[in-house]
Symmetry: C2
Subunit: 418 residues, 2 copies
Amino acid sequence: MSKRLTSWVESANNADTPFPLNNLPYGVFSTPGTEPRCGVAIGDQILDVQALEAAGLIDAGGAFKEPTWNAFMGQGKPAWDALRARLTDILTAGSDDQSKAGKLLTPQTDATMHMPISVAEYTDFYASRDHATNVGTMFRGAENALPPNWLHIPIGYNGRASSVVVSGTDVRRPWGQLKSPDDDKPRFAPSQRFDIELEMGAIVGTPSNGPISVQEADGNIFGYVLLNDWSARDIQRWEYQPLGPFQAKATATTIGPWIVTTAALEPFRCDTPAREFELLDHLKDQGPMLYNIDLSVTIAPAGKAPTTIVRTNYKEMYYSSAQQLAHHSTSGCPMRTGDLLGSGTISGPNKENRGSLAELTWGGKEPVTLDTGETRSFIEDGDTLVLHGTAKGEDYTIGFGSCVGTLLPALKDPFARS
Amino acid sequence: MSKRLTSWVESANNADTPFPLNNLPYGVFSTPGTEPRCGVAIGDQILDVQALEAAGLIDAGGAFKEPTWNAFMGQGKPAWDALRARLTDILTAGSDDQSKAGKLLTPQTDATMHMPISVAEYTDFYASRDHATNVGTMFRGAENALPPNWLHIPIGYNGRASSVVVSGTDVRRPWGQLKSPDDDKPRFAPSQRFDIELEMGAIVGTPSNGPISVQEADGNIFGYVLLNDWSARDIQRWEYQPLGPFQAKATATTIGPWIVTTAALEPFRCDTPAREFELLDHLKDQGPMLYNIDLSVTIAPAGKAPTTIVRTNYKEMYYSSAQQLAHHSTSGCPMRTGDLLGSGTISGPNKENRGSLAELTWGGKEPVTLDTGETRSFIEDGDTLVLHGTAKGEDYTIGFGSCVGTLLPALKDPFARS
């Protein structure tokens, strides 16, 4: 296992910091009165990457003039590796650049985080076997739980990029067309079964045009973020046949503020589970392409303490993001810098590993009890949901930052304009 | 009915031109050695809108410096109306601007057409009752043909914006994961059931954030293009459960080169068909929001004459684009300038009205015979498909330009890089 690197930023050397020198995750931040710009987290600080380039300490061809990571991501892996090496130099204990770079640090507590990328398109997959089995059982019965294609293709659908927001953005309970099995006709009302989905989001850095191999796909991924794919289960149940989820998934998808790069995750690679059927050649694993990342979710009623309701691990997935991206390209679909691929809800074999409330409460029939004594079937107004992710090295931890969202009550009249 | 306006561009006054002064459709064109720029079709000419603004003949705040219509569309309906009025002035017989504008004309035969918009996101609907019934019968049997939600919601799914191309772009037959009902396992092979879908594409001009009414949605639509949603039926059949079409629809979607504005289509508005069930209030028709547009499709084997295989009309739709856009926004989904909404395949009650080969040949079982004597179940390599659309006034016709695509053979090795 890899060991902790030592930085002159003291807080980056604490055993429990999520942002040691081994991590160097990328985000976009601002402070009061300043414009959003690219930065890298180190300990409890953010190093201003735009200012680093302006000062000539790094050279990315002007990519950091814009307040997203897209232009830099589009430069490809050699540029990614070069920047990471250079940032590591700058931030290593004893660096000659300490005095200059030290002036470009901002405490994270002073910063507001923004979308780290402009999302080109958003795709969501369905790739944890336990999740697909759980949801399939609830929607279609135990006998039809896992669709016949599921063990052969990483099933996915296109989501809505315009609805992706950064951690900290409040989410408004949506209205939608609903029809319970015992209603004789549908009605338009606020969703009563609003849910989370605990996922990882893979960000495409290098574009492609035409089918790509799993190996190539792995190399095209720039990094990963935490991702909460908010889901209105009652809207979904009525709308999803035959063309899949649509408005149920379009209210919001929240991503974490920090992109942890594939380079930082390298020591944590692990294999996908054993295959029930051999995959077709173009989807076969080409080395370990999942990551050992502990994941959890907390829920906190308004003004109250959080309760951890989910504990799982990214290695529970049946398909890696590289396999998903390769499949995504098979028909010739052009993939672009800034494409975001949700892993699908990450559930594991035990009840506490279930990555959505629909699974945890079995469609609302078995409410979970919080530490506050309250119970939850689905999310209630004012609840704050937080996703956490960590990968553990020998003596250090890599974190993703929190992925936070609070549910606001539905509008009384959704068509009234303020 | 409205009558033809007279222009000093003589070819715009021919009875059979698709581009009389009443039309004024918007596109992006280039000529050899020049950069793509915005233009408007008039008769057999294109008037250079970028040059018009540079010359001070129109003022759109610099929107035409970029080679797409997005910046202008984002300015909203008052700007759209003002430009149309001004272009009508400039091009009307006897205009004071004739000598200046006359120098900014390019014959359409000298021009290459480009994507008229940068597609923000692409959504495809499923809104012709005959199409949904035909396809549903083939995929799920006659008893389950029309899903229970179909008469209550304009069913749609998110497509892939990166795959939208302009008329004239060749389309490569895709590979995909296929499994016939009698195969015991899937295989990876070129699609053998590659198809067209005849649709109209509505382009969102004015963005929105939160639910909007059908009336508001109607006003936010900038215009319409012909749209061919190429579809690999064999990939679709295996992949589409439970989350909808994905790679089957991601090879390409071709749009026509000319955006016909809602202003030009105003005289052709018509009502949706009678409702079997009353729609919920937020989806109810707010006036006539479909259009009477004759549509047809021709197919031509390589080097041979075309045969018309489809004749239908946009008024066959059960839901208008305004209803689709309103539904799209119900959950709070932000809609952006440049969003493209495919109407769904436009089929009518008779066999010749069916807007896809899957329907025309009933899943390949009843091949169509072309005028050349050849037969077609699905598209063959080298075939050229062309969509046409016209709206007929009292003494003039409004055309959409042709929406053309030729199918290239599948790559022998889809992963080989040239």
